[in-house]
């Protein structure tokens, strides 16, 4: 019972219901637990693996397809025409693949977001040429899917010398915190150091997520040390 009362007093203190505990020993103990809680909150957070993102989005896309199929009447095709269409599509794909070997050409053939995401992710294992990076930057400007954007930024992060003002401009226009964090990771690694003024302005945005704000502060503190 005594233990229970002591626990209750400690939790009142940790939850901010009370500011002090009459028992000095319990007060000290509560202080230590508060410190422990803040250490737990500071533990680094892991990122979701892109394949999980891809699986979830595939699940969502399948749901959408099922919904659409259910809501629309089915189009009945003559089996002969169906087989001919499939054969023609395969032949066309084969022709395009034979003709185009660049990453950009292969990427253009992909139909779904999970496929695109997986493709970009796998490029981490490739050595990209300048034209590939130029293409990825252009793709980044057009892309609307947040996970694909994050994956492109993470990929370009492997080439710090290519991270330039385009990233800063994109960051300033970006509304989604997870994408903003990816841009900030890239800017942190950039060999072009002087983004401080722009980052200060960015950090003053009222709609900014707290984690993003902390990340900007972290980058600015590093740059000021340099």
């Amino acid at each position: 019972m005594k233990d229970e009362q002591s626990d209750k007093a400690i939790m009142d203190y940790l939850d901010g219901i009370s500011k002090e505990i009459s028992n000095q020993k319990a007060f000290q103990h509560a202080g230590e637990l508060k410190q422990l809680l803040s250490e737990l909150q500071e533990l680094p957070l892991g990122k979701v693996h892109p394949t999980t993102d891809a699986k979830v989005y595939e699940f969502i896309e399948n749901l959408e397809t099922t919904m659409n199929t259910e809501s629309k009447s089915r189009l009945k095709l003559d089996p002969k025409i169906l087989y001919l269409t499939i054969a023609a599509s395969i032949a066309l794909l084969f022709y395009v693949f034979m003709d185009n070997n660049g990453f950009e050409d292969q990427y253009r053939l992909l139909q779904s977001n999970p496929e695109r995401l997986g493709f970009i992710y796998d490029l981490n294992n490739e050595q990209l040429a300048s034209e590939d990076i130029k293409w990825l930057k252009a793709e980044l400007k057009k892309e609307t899917h947040p996970n694909i954007k994050v994956t492109i930024v993470d990929l370009l992060n492997n080439y710090p010398s290519k991270i330039d003002n385009d990233f800063l401009n994109a960051l300033q226009k970006e509304p989604i915190p997870s994408v903003q964090m990816a841009f900030l990771d890239a800017l942190e690694n950039s060999v072009n150091p002087d983004f401080s003024n722009e980052l200060v302005v960015f950090s003053q945005r009222k709609d900014l997520d707290n984690t993003v704000r902390l990340k900007v502060a972290h980058i600015l503190s590093i740059q000021s040390k340099q």
């Binding site: 626990d7 637990l33 979830v56």
Partner: protein
Amino acid sequence: MTDLTDESLLKTLCNGEIKSLGILYERYKGILHNYFLRVTGDQEASNDLLMATFERIYKYRHSYESRKKVRPWIFQIASNLIKDHYKKSNRWVSINTSHYKNEAMNTEVSIDIAAKHKKLHKALHQLKPSQRNIISMYYLLGMSYQDISLSENISVNNARIKTCRALKKLKEILKDSDL
């Protein structure tokens, strides 16, 4: 659509707007993934549990009561999945500290901090799964005692006491590891 509240998104999801599930996923994937990772210590299981959470959100979307908040409802689904995970696996996965090794390799994070994180992570994994779960619900998910009590099927007062005892136990483990 990204401006909609969680509650509005779930409502539109119930009305057949599947894109709402994607927006909810973007909002919750980070915190849920880290919750699963902290409690299970298993990257692969965490990914599977994250996927399963959104499958369940979709499956049980009509059971959500519109006058309630979505956040605790999602966390409730997540904590139920954790319990199912332990029932099924009935084992404890060895901790994966590779994340902390990577962290130590990052020049921006001092070796001391990385070592401290690793130690805390190890201590967390010496707790019972139920204690680790209750602590994670409290400090990481920021769940109220009311929601923790519902999730654990215990009284609110008991939820507070269990949280306190789990924290005390963690403190003890850390203290012993210092000796």
